[in-house]
């Protein structure tokens, strides 16, 4: 059992929880994730580690309520428990001091980019962060990201904060102006990561993306998470979730994300119909 010790609502449907998980925190490194199962009937869902503190043993997870399981997770409050959690999973990112990196975070993807930005920033790398959201209200981790960035830009789809439009447009402008960073790290919705990779390819800038594939075990046992990278099939839970954005077959991946769309809708409708009183804010 893993107890939730803190909970924060970051934006509508985006929540942060801190879970007591000292064993997982002890070895967690940027880029890794956990797989959890809320209760006996739950499914196994991966979430990237947004922060981990080996001293307090608190693991920070940030999630958006998109399907039944994340909505149910969002209903849990301080003091409630999650039945199972395993991790840290995935290949950690090898973070070494570079001269300059750009971190592009879209939507809830800002949370998993935070530990990477933090790690680079602490090593003395110049970090420029580009944060995109649908609206100002949906923008998360603003303060946190500001603390680990030398420069920061924002965009919203509706123009309620920062640049009006996609964050990848800001990226394009920056790259056009130059100088070019050693690396761009892009984490967010698949469409955003695909677009970011297209933009950086134009300028020949190395790009790392973090893929949120559909997983079951998260340990290389099932192949549910497979993706084609550079014409080779990779299990994202073991060899990823970080890959070279220029080599990922995004179109295939986007199709694969729809594998259980009908079932997910059914589960969600059923849940909403039966959930009773809403405990969320």
């Amino acid at each position: 059992m893993y107890r939730i010790l803190e909970k924060e609502v970051l934006a509508p449907k985006i929540k942060l929880i801190k879970v007591d998980a000292p064993e997982i925190c002890a070895g967690a490194r940027p880029g890794q994730f956990v797989v959890f199962r809320i209760h006996e009937k739950g499914e196994r869902i991966p979430l990237t580690i947004a922060d981990s503190d080996p001293k307090s043993g608190l693991l920070t997870l940030v999630f958006q309520e998109v399907g039944k399981s994340t909505t149910e997770l969002g209903m849990l409050n301080k003091g409630d428990t999650i039945q199972d959690m395993v991790g840290p999973l995935g290949t950690p990112r090898d973070i070494e001091k570079l001269d300059y990196v750009i971190c592009v975070g879209g939507g809830v993807g800002v949370a998993p980019i935070y530990p990477e930005a933090k790690a680079y920033y602490r090593l003395g790398t110049r970090v420029v962060s580009l944060i995109g959201a649908q609206t100002k209200e949906m923008l998360i981790f603003k303060n946190r990201m500001e603390q680990v960035s030398d420069e920061i830009y924002f965009s919203t789809d509706d123009g309620s904060f920062g640049h009006k439009g996609f964050i990848t447009e800001v990226l394009d402008d920056l790259l056009e102006k130059g100088p070019h960073p050693d690396e761009v790290i892009a984490i967010g919705p698949l469409l955003m990561m695909r677009e970011a990779s297209k933009v950086t390819a134009k300028y020949g800038v190395k790009t790392v993306v973090s893929l949120n594939t559909i997983m079951v075990d998260g340990t290389g046992m099932c192949g549910s998470c497979r993706v084609t990278v550079d014409s080779e099939v990779k299990f994202s839970c073991v060899e990823g979730p970080a890959f070279d954005g220029h080599k990922v077959d995004f179109d295939e991946l986007i199709a694969r994300q729809n594998r259980f769309l009908a079932e997910e809708r059914l589960a969600m409708d059923r849940y909403l119909a039966g959930a009773g009183g809403c405990k969320c804010q």
């Binding site: 064993e23 997982i24 070895g27 199962r37 009937k41 739950g42 499914e43 196994r44 039944k68 399981s69 039945q83 199972d84 959690m85 395993v86 991790g87 840290p88 999973l89 079951v216 075990d217 340990t219 290389g220 046992m221 099932c222 192949g223 549910s224 497979r226 993706v227 084609t228 099939v233 073991v238 295939e252 199709a255 694969r256 729809n258 594998r259 259980f260 009908a262 079932e263 997910e264 059914l266 589960a267 059923r270």
Partner: protein
């Protein structure tokens, strides 16, 4: 006076095929005491006991059968348990037709004694009528402490044996449930999970501590385990890494590895979706690639999940199929089609990312290959298209590299398997032992169990010697 022995064995009652394809309950219902005694009476008690030599763990088969014939079922179960601590499982999943029953004397002139069915009967009888589990033992670390990694049959039997030898044992499992393939791979209709639970309860009652959700190598490393005071580590992490054929179209929606398909259905109980949250999608026409138990289990699961037509596509002929005979027969009774001497070459797309068909090629058998089986050779220009919307690939698995690649210096074989001594489980690193599929590649439950047990004794000897020198 000589009694005439029937040439045919007594069949185990089963759920009728048209009923069972609509449920996930166990197919075989097991002998009644009367049937068991009648079947046991067929055994002629051969002085040379060829069947015992055919059993990978050397159960005294004629002895236990004699007890069954007398009606002493608990005595028979005890006899079996001298050699095999998981008889309820082995009776159900061992390939008896290539082990004990293959060499049974009666098999020369008729059907062999139904040894597997009798083993299963005794174990089930004992589960219902035997003594309740003993008091929880508190573990005692005075003889030493051992970490067992993986809770499949190898890990379970190693842990159980070490506990009997007086060690404090901690069993680590990365999934949220114990059992390994017994839990996530073999379906409920062939091995009810309540039987796996019961065995795990028994092992707990022996004082073994079970820690779920721990991926050794990541959550905790083997070095850290030694630092924490464990005297030895047993690796029983199995061969869980599925491989694919590498043909075009394998990442289309509607293509599963058997491991994904079965894990969703069994471990995650997706057959109870939406009561359980894990989804599974099965189309109307399913092709399963492969000819082993995994293929049969996938095919029969697909049928139960509502597929109209399930075809098993296997590249060799029926005699080469590695699946248990009983399961091939069951599958056919249930209406699953075997398409033999056919091999897939690519999977076709419907234009929206989903499977629309599978192109196959006809094969013929050539000279025997390394495995001793005749090598399948494609017949040129014999391609044809199978009309399917779901493909399940059951073409094999490799040892799981996650843990073993974190142990520096561990000697590995060509296929990434751990090299370990067959008799003691010793690897090239002192204090690290291994057994089961991680050593042999995918094999059998009984072989994994046997290896776990032998390794427990290897570990016992290692720790005694280490402590003896240290004193």
């Amino acid at each position: 006076m000589s009694v005439k022995i029937s040439k045919e064995k007594h069949e185990m009652p089963k759920q009728p095929a048209d009923t069972r394809i609509k449920n996930f309950e166990e197919v075989a219902l097991g002998y009644t005491p009367e049937l068991a005694m009648a079947e046991a009476a067929r055994c002629i008690q051969c002085p040379k006991k060829p069947c015992v030599a055919g059993c990978p763990v050397g159960i005294d088969i004629p002895e236990f059968i004699k007890l069954v014939a007398k009606g002493d079922f608990l005595g028979a179960a005890k006899k079996i348990k001298e050699k095999n601590s998981l008889p309820a499982m082995c009776g159900r999943v061992c390939p008896q037709e290539s082990q004990c029953e293959a060499v049974c004397t009666l098999g020369k002139r008729g059907e062999p004694v139904a040894i597997g069915a009798l083993e299963r009967f005794c174990a089930d009888y004992e589960r219902i009528h035997g003594e309740p589990l003993a008091e929880m033992k508190t573990s005692d670390s005075s003889s030493g402490m051992v970490a067992v990694v993986g809770s499949g049959p190898a890990g379970l039997s190693c842990a159980s044996e070490l506990a009997k030898l007086g060690y404090r044992v901690v069993l680590f499992e990365s999934l949220h449930a114990t059992g390994g393939v017994l839990r996530y791979g073999i379906p409920e209709f062939r091995l009810p999970k309540s039987i796996v639970d019961k065995e795990v309860e028994y092992i707990k009652s022996q004082g073994v501590e079970i820690r779920l959700n721990v991926l050794v190598g990541t959550t905790v490393t083997v070095d850290e385990l030694f630092e924490q005071g464990f005297d030895a580590v047993f690796l029983g992490t199995g061969a869980g890494l599925p491989y694919f054929l590498g043909i075009p179209g394998e990442n289309l929606n509607g293509v599963y590895s058997a491991n994904e398909f079965l894990t969703r259905a069994n471990l995650m109980k997706a057959y109870l979706f939406p009561e359980y949250d894990t989804p599974i999608w099965v189309g109307k026409r399913v092709a399963v690639i492969g000819g082993g138990n995994v293929a049969m289990d996938s095919a029969r699961t697909a049928l139960r999940l509502g597929a109209d037509e399930v075809t098993v596509v296997y590249r060799r002929s029926r005699t080469e199929m590695p699946a248990r005979l009983e399961e091939i027969e069951n599958a056919e009774e249930e209406g699953i089609k075997l398409m033999l001497l056919r091999n897939p070459v690519r999977i076709l797309e419907d234009g929206e990312g989903w499977v629309k068909g599978m192109e196959c090629i006809k094969m013929e058998l050539g000279k025997p290959d390394d495995s001793g089986r005749r090598r399948p050779i494609p017949i040129p220009d014999s391609e044809f298209i199978l009309d399917v919307d779901t493909v399940i690939s059951a073409v094999g698995t490799n040892p799981n590299p996650l843990l073993i690649r974190t142990i520096s210096g561990l000697a590995l074989g060509r296929r990434g398997n751990v090299i370990a001594d067959e008799q003691t489980g010793k690897t090239n690193i002192p204090g690290i032992f291994a057994g089961g599929d991680i050593v042999t590649g995918s094999a059998t439950v009984i072989a994994a169990m046997g290896a776990g047990k032998l390794a427990a004794h290897g570990i016992d000897e290692y720790i005694r010697r280490k402590n003896g020198r240290g004193m």
